[in-house]
Amino acid sequence: MSQTATLPASPDTFEDQAAPETKIRSYWQSVGYRLRHDKMTIFFGSIVILIVLAAIFAPLLAPFDPYKESIIGRLKPMGWRNHTLGTDELGRDMLTRLLYGGRVSLLMGIVPVIFATCVGGMLGVIAGFMGGRVNTGIMRTMDVFYAFPSVLLAVAISGAMGGGMLNGMLALTLVFIPPMCRVAETATTQVRSLDFIEAARATGAGTFIIVRHHVLGNVLGPVFIYASSLVSVSILLASGLSFLGLGVRPPTADWGLMLSTLRQSIYVVPVVCALPGLAIFVTSICFNLVSDGLRAAMDVRM
């Protein structure tokens, strides 16, 4: 595939369309097949895995102590005395702090999405399946939160609560619940009116069985894909909160916070100061492209 991963793979590039006599694959087999042949997604997926591994094993990989300051070694350029990526305003090693910072940034990027997916997804399925007043009640409440631009809502909530990593994650969770709920609600409403639900009901299946076996299977796909696309947004927003001083407290390393404090030193070591932002950007774009690849492979339309 020479196209970028953002374009959904066109069906006629797969041999199972061109040669009908090849064996029929199950849904997950064909998803796996498409993923294996999508070089872009594999490439960016491996970068994501590398970033996550680097964050997890930061203590093993880091060449220095993340909190070790040095008065003579402040704001040194890349390659100064074994400091591959230079040092920050307190003389701490940039590479080490970027590795450790990835832990906080990834955590703040991924955890809110997981919580929001659970809560928002559940509310959406309830709203979609029950319909009527329950739907109106839930969805109109969500509309109120939609009236805030996402950055604004995140800043408002975590700003009012006084910042900190936990408050930041809580704020991001609240920001992601409404769009997640809307995706789940749309998918559920579409499935609910289909004939096979009617058939299941006619055979005597209870609400729980219908939701568990017939609705969830059709809703999880869009919800999962949407959640994967939210991770990239969440990393951007989380780092933005840290950038405003609403995330972790110094001296903990975090990409957003590092970028914010190094901003004062752009006249001394401009390239080193831009590094934390580059880390945010690369991580975000990789998650974004992997999400696009997964969407194409799972053939989810939203």
């Binding site: 196209q3 970028t4 953002t6 374009l7 109109r140 409440t141 509309d143 109120v144 939160f145 009236a147 805030f148 631009p149 996402s150 950055v151 604004l152 800043v155 408002a156 909530i157 700003g159 009012a160 609560m161 006084g162 910042g163 990239s232 951007l236 780092s239 933005g240 950038f243 405003l244 001083g245 609403l246 970028l259 901003r263 752009i266 006249y267 401009p270 100061c273 831009a274 934390p276 932002g277 580059l278 945010i280 950007f281 975000s284 774009i285 974004n288 492209l289 696009d292």
Partner: protein, 318 residues
């Protein structure tokens, strides 16, 4: 048509009401008693009672909310804890500065984004399409606060073509967009702010145009002998409502995203005011600014909805 307009306006009222409830409750999200900020730490129980009464904190929450709402509607957002000035004055000042950024950033982002998307959609698969699609992916994942810093590094630090931050020596009171010595301070913030909407708008426009070009009516138009230019005009007209919806969202993005960009450029707009309020734990300013921006966003969406229905009568029936 007038029925649809009325319906839309009636629908926006409960949303605006909900928004104000959320803003009101921001005060109660703050850790501890909201009175802590005004009371000295050694206040006696008696003083606390008096102050509570003075601020109306002794009344039940719904009553407090209605009193607050009544004040807000008449423009009384309270006093800033940090500057002791009325919050409204600060907000008006800040909004006019943000408005100046938006006045340049929005037309720039919308025209460039739309034109890029249009070109990409008209030549799907060609190099221009790939370029636009690639740029769009970059745009979506780009942290605008980082972009702002990179812009400052390149154009202010390395090349020293443009000033890095601020609004110039005279400040915002005497700022004039007609003087280059003032306008040069606008260039970097405007470019930074419009970059990400350009990515998103071009992507949406590309998708909408490419989809419309595959519709049957386009073939009919061609079969009737219309020139390619006339066909594109029809395609644009049909693709426009979807594009407009995204533009409305991007307007909100500009309002919200300006928080970080204005902080980097120390541009004294609403976003900068907000980040100052966060540092000073100035809840009245935080509350007032968020409420104003959110209401502005609700209004924009309402206007976009009405514009859409004017362009595409099908929406009115839906």
């Amino acid at each position: 048509m007038s029925r649809y307009i009325l319906q839309r306006i009636l629908y926006a009222i409960p949303i605006a009401f909900g928004v104000s409830v959320v803003c009101f409750s921001l005060v109660y999200l703050a850790p501890g008693d909201p009175l802590q900020t005004v009371l000295p730490p050694d206040a006696t129980a008696e003083t606390i009672e008096i102050v509570k009464k003075a601020y109306g904190f002794d009344k039940p929450l719904p009553i407090q909310f209605l009193i607050w709402l009544g004040k807000v509607v008449t423009g009384d957002f309270g006093m800033s804890i940090a500057t002791r000035r009325p919050v409204l004055d600060e907000i008006i000042m800040a909004l006019s500065n943000t408005g100046m950024l938006a006045m340049f950033a929005i037309p720039t982002a919308f025209t460039i984004g739309f034109l890029m998307g249009l070109l990409a959609g008209c030549f799907p698969g060609k190099w221009i399409d790939r370029g636009v699609t690639g740029t769009a992916v970059f745009g979506v994942s780009l942290p605008n606060y980082w972009l702002a810093i990179v812009m400052v590094i390149i154009f202010a630090v390395e090349l020293s073509w443009l000033p890095a931050t601020g609004m110039g020596p005279k400040g915002s009171a005497e700022f004039s967009i007609w003087r280059w010595s003032d306008t040069q301070f606008l260039v970097l913030p405007v470019i930074t702010l419009s970059m990400i909407p350009i990515g998103i708008i071009s992507r949406t426009t590309r998708a909408a145009i490419a989809e419309m070009r595959n519709q049957d009516f386009v073939q009919t138009l061609r079969a009737k002998g219309l020139s390619e230019l006339a066909v594109i005009r029809h395609v644009i007209k049909n693709a426009l409502p979807g594009v407009l919806a995204v533009m409305g969202l991007q307007f909100g993005y500009l309002l919200g995203g300006s928080i970080l960009v204005e902080t980097v450029f120390t541009w004294p707009g609403s976003g900068f005011l907000l980040s100052k309020a966060i540092i000073n734990r100035d809840v009245p300013v935080l509350q007032g600014t968020i409420l104003t921006l959110a209401i502005a966003f609700v209004m924009t969406n309402l206007i976009i909805d009405l514009l859409q229905s004017m362009i595409d009568p099908r929406i009115r029936r839906g």
